[in-house]
């Protein structure tokens, strides 16, 4: 077995799924919405990037920008349909989940209707080169994936740490009731959250399209993986999501190398069940320094 390949695969997968997991985690803890439409946003931004590569330019920055912008746009649509009209109604979590799921199903069919079932592919954005780091061969697409995911995530997390909007979002993640008391508007903040998480989905879609295809239903599996990572990490915790992504990335790469790709989901969910039995609050329960209120 080639351990170098396992490690690089694990890290690449962790970056992509971690990006999605952080997006889902932030949406859940700040808005209380399980964004089941995330897979649709993911597929939509893939198509956005593909259209841009076809009609505007096939240079990497244009394709990235198109993917991220389409993702942000998809986030706004989901926010306007599945959050703002119903967020203060009774039993919102289940209603929001249903609404987001409906958007996902309808949206995926819409993509199928417009673009057809044939998969599309994006041009190679990171070129064709390899580097050899301590005997481990790193291909350009993997290096590019890791660097771009880390870059955008760092940007997002820095923004959340230092800006006023970021403080708003973090306050809402920790205590939505208190957030309204200090004058944070849930609806205006929700738009920012959805733009940001939509953009993250767009980035993940563009980088994942380097290895996989863009198809109307291509977002479902990444969304399920992102959601399970967010669960393992403890919903609402960014460091937890990062740790969960690494863990599940290693698991996926190891299972694929040792047992075969068809067993990945089995070992993945066994691992998730095990972790949630041992730590009901997920990995975040270990990382969290502060007591619950």
């Amino acid at each position: 077995m080639d351990f170098g390949l396992v490690i690089t695969n694990a890290i690449t997968l962790a970056c992509i799924y971690g990006t999605l997991a952080i997006g889902l985690s932030i949406t859940w803890s700040s808005l209380g919405l399980v964004n089941m439409a995330y897979g649709f946003i993911f597929a939509l931004s893939g198509y956005g990037a593909w259209l841009a590569s076809l009609y505007i330019s096939s240079s990497a920055p244009v394709i990235f920008a198109a993917g991220i912008l389409t993702g942000a746009l998809g986030g706004i649509v989901v926010c306007l349909c599945a959050f703002i009209p119903i967020h203060d109604k009774p039993s919102f979590p289940i209603r929001g989940l249903t609404a987001a799921l409906a958007i996902s199903l309808a949206g995926n069919e819409l993509l199928m209707w417009i673009f057809g079932p044939r998969a599309k592919s994006l041009p190679q954005l990171f070129g064709f080169w390899k580097v050899n780091i301590f005997g481990v061969v790193v291909t350009s697409d993997k290096a590019g994936t890791v660097v771009s995911a880390l870059f955008l995530l760092t940007l997002v997390l820095l923004w959340m740490r230092s800006s006023r909007r970021g403080l708003e979002i973090r306050a809402m993640m920790m205590n939505p009731h208190a957030a309204s008391i200090v004058g944070i508007g849930v609806r205006s903040t929700s738009i920012y959250v959805m733009i940001m998480t939509g953009g993250l989905a767009g980035l993940a879609a563009v980088v994942l399209a380097q290895t996989y295809w863009i198809s109307p239903f291509s977002g479902i599996t990444p969304m399920i993986k992102g959601l399970s990572i967010a669960l393992v990490g403890g919903l609402g915790s960014v460091p937890g999501a990062v740790a969960g992504a690494l863990l599940l990335g290693v698991n996926e790469a190891l299972t694929a190398a040792l047992l075969g790709g068809q067993y990945v989901l089995i070992t993945q969910f066994l691992l998730i069940i095990l972790i949630l039995i041992l730590r009901p609050r997920g990995i975040a329960g270990i990382l969290d320094r502060a007591r619950e209120a």
Partner: protein, 242 residues
Amino acid sequence: MNKPEHAVQRRIVLDVNGLSAGWGPVRVIHDLDLKVSSGERVGIVGLNGHGKSTLFQAIAGLTGWQRGSILLEGHQVGRTRSQGPGRYTHLVVRRGLALIPQGDEIFHGLTVEEHLDSGAFTRRAWSERSERKKKVLAIFQPLQKLMKVPVGRLSGGERRMVAIGRGLMADASLFLVDEPSLGLAPKIGKAVIEALLAVELGDSAMVIAEQNVGLLEGRVDRIIGMHAGKLKGEASVLLPHA
């Protein structure tokens, strides 16, 4: 009155008329009237479960349902509504309300400093937040060396200081303080109230709800009793200069 009479005309900061509010089928506040004018410190005392907190929450739009008129600085912030608790709260806060809720309602992962910043979300308060922080720290000195500590790790008394400090950061014309001594050791509770009463109000007003009359007696401009969702006692006191 232990306050010097101001030469300036006092204006009415809060004018509540015929307010009823509650949760689901339960009606907690019954046709309540309340006027608070600027520069005034009002104590509302009453037993547990008689509607002090619900009154504050109704003013902030946080109750399950409510009807009746609430004028904050002349703007109508009371709406007849049957659901959506908290939906308009941020708009009421932007009109100049600072609610310091019972049980602190802190953000347990934010540091003390970020917490104080989060209290200054109105536009003017945000631009002046460093001066405001200095003022709050002068009142609650123990917080000075805790600025970088997550609030979730503080003690009960320190948390209360953070919660009150967050309220004082706001550019508010009306401060509603709900049970500032609740759950604290008597000595610490007393210190918190002392600090609260020492805050310079200027043009704004403060209403403190408290179960312990002794802590407020003789140190606020008037005390109103609250019983079974209605104000008793001095509720009809005339406003100075009004």
